[in-house]
Amino acid sequence: MRFMVIVKANKDSEAGVLPDQEILAKMGKYNEELVKAGVMLAGEGLHASSKGARVRFQGNKRTVIDGPFAETKELVAGFWLWQVKSKQEAIEWLKRAPFDDGTEVEIRQVFETADFAASDPTGELRKQEDNLRRTIESQRR
């Protein structure tokens, strides 16, 4: 199964301060270990939210909100995609990561074949559902 491992932002990452050499080296070594174990599928670090934007959807209206965003701790600063056999294995791998200072890193399972594609491989069911919803909406008007 696949897991997304989500690293949250902190003051430094939001200020655009890059991690120092030592941390980068440790993280590089950790990433190498993940690759060598055949666990890491992908991984990226994200720029500060000041370089990002949000789009809010309301009816037909789209409102664009430019970064930075206030709730630092809820922001995503980076992620990995891991292929492992169980959540526990993801946890054991994550425990080896060189984080410190109360950092919390989140592990979330990614939806996969067995979760829905097997029952709806062609997207037929979803299409039907969408059609049904549209029909109901048009009847209301």
Partner: protein
């Protein structure tokens, strides 16, 4: 917010999966016996199962397991030596022997070398293909005997037997725990790649049973392939195999229909293909080609898979290129099955008649006599040429030859369609 202590048994399973190969590899270097190394690692695991539920999982579980296994190794070797020699010197000798290659202080290179030696010994040509597969999954994949048995639909006792016998064969033959060098490396590596691809294929199109695919097994093979690419980064065919598996695995979720039936490549919904795996596969193929391995059998197969992966619709497939890649593959790794595949590609590039001529040339091929895809392909080409009655007989023949239930259903369905209409398929 709840801070929960995780179930120690699950944690131990996970630690085992992460650490077992390195553990066994390190121990095998010390005791020079893979079977013994595995037993020692198992004993350390048992110790962890006793200890950790109470003490909690240690901060460095790998080092804990290694220390526990090493202590057992020292005890064991000391007892063995006792039988041969006087008490004191024996004890000292063993301590010294065990201290020298200390895993705690070992460099990463050392760990990599150990793992590589383990890979080569598990896939040693003196073992049968079945034994190699079982041993590789057990020693390197961290799978239990039960998991291997389930994956290959054989009784657990059979797998256990295979592993025991394989270890004995290796011990009896005194197979050295080393990475082959020079010319030997190429042939031994071919055996390793073959084992990994065998595991992948059993997951990708199961030869037996009710399910058309067993994705778990594909994942195990992929993981082994990725690990091997890390261990032997300079070997193009290792990347070629990784590329081939990544790209094929990208189609796993498109290969099964709603009722669990197989969906063939050209009928698949390409939106379901896993783009992440495709990108990884194309990158691995690029590495293989940059290392000068474009003509390697796995790289060529990966290049063929890449042609499909790059085509947004089935109609956009570059069939002439695929046909020429198959031609190159026949040169580098001749096989009647490759010839059959080439016939399919030629039929797509130049029409069913051209393909059928190539297939018919294979009819007398002895090694294809029981192979269900020969009549299946022939049936398909005959149907396209409007020769429905002959096509039907071929599909029925193919159905009688396959052991996979899902595939049989698909073939019988095609046979029935031939019976219904006599016009050529569109």
């Amino acid at each position: 917010m709840a801070v929960t202590a995780t179930d120690p048994h699950r944690a131990i399973d996970a630690v085992w999966r992460i650490e077992s190969a390195r553990l066994i590899a390190g121990l095998a270097r010390m005791v020079r016996d893979v079977g013994l190394a595995e037993e020692l690692a198992q004993e350390a695991l048992v110790a962890a199962l006793e200890r950790w539920p109470e003490s909690g999982v240690p901060d460095n579980p790998g080092a804990w397991l290694m220390a526990a296994a090493k202590n057992r190794a020292i005890d064991l070797l000391r007892r063995r030596k006792l039988l041969e020699r006087k008490h004191e010197e024996a004890g000292r000798d063993v301590e010294e022997a065990m201290d020298a290659p200390d895993l705690d202080s070992a460099l990463d290179d050392q760990v990599g070398d150990d793992l590589l030696r383990l890979v080569f010994i598990a896939c040693h040509p003196i073992l049968s293909a079945e034994a190699r597969v079982a041993l590789t999954l057990r020693l390197l994949g961290g799978l239990t005997t039960e998991e291997i048995a389930r994956a290959f639909l054989v009784p657990e006792a059979t797998v256990a037997q295979r592993i025991v016998r394989a270890k004995r064969t290796l011990a009896d033959a005194r197979v050295p725990f080393e990475v082959p060098r020079g010319g030997e490396l190429a042939s031994r590596l071919a055996s390793v790649l073959e084992v990994i691809y065998l595991v992948f294929n059993e997951g990708y199109s199961a030869t037996a049973g009710d399910d058309w695919t067993r994705p778990e097994l594909c994942q195990d093979a992929l993981r082994l392939g990725r690990i091997l690419a890390g261990l032997l980064p300079g070997e193009p065919e290792v990347h070629g195999l990784a590329a081939l598996m990544e790209i094929q695995a990208s189609r796993l979720r498109a290969r099964i229909g709603p009722a669990g039936e197989p969906v063939l490549l050209l009928d698949q919904n390409r939106a379901l293909w896993d783009q992440l795996l495709i990108q990884r596969g194309l990158a691995a193929l690029d590495r293989a080609e940059k290392l000068g391995g474009a003509r390697g059998p796995y790289a060529l197969q990966a290049a063929i898979a890449a042609c499909h992966a790059r085509a947004r619709t089935a109609a956009e497939t570059d069939w002439p290129r695929i046909a020429s890649l198959y031609e190159a593959l026949i040169e580098s790794a001749p096989s009647p099955i490759v010839e059959l595949n080439r016939a399919v590609a030629v039929s797509m590039a130049s029409g069913p008649a051209a393909g059928l001529a190539l297939v018919d040339a294979l009819l007398s091929e002895r090694s294809l006599q029981g192979y269900h895809l020969l009549p299946s392909v022939r049936g398909d080409l005959l149907a396209k040429l409007g020769r429905q009655r002959e096509a039907r007989a071929e599909f029925e023949r193919a159905a009688s030859l396959t052991k996979n239930v899902r595939e049989r259903g698909l073939l019988l369905e095609r046979a029935a369609k031939c019976a219904n209409g006599n016009s050529p398929a569109p």
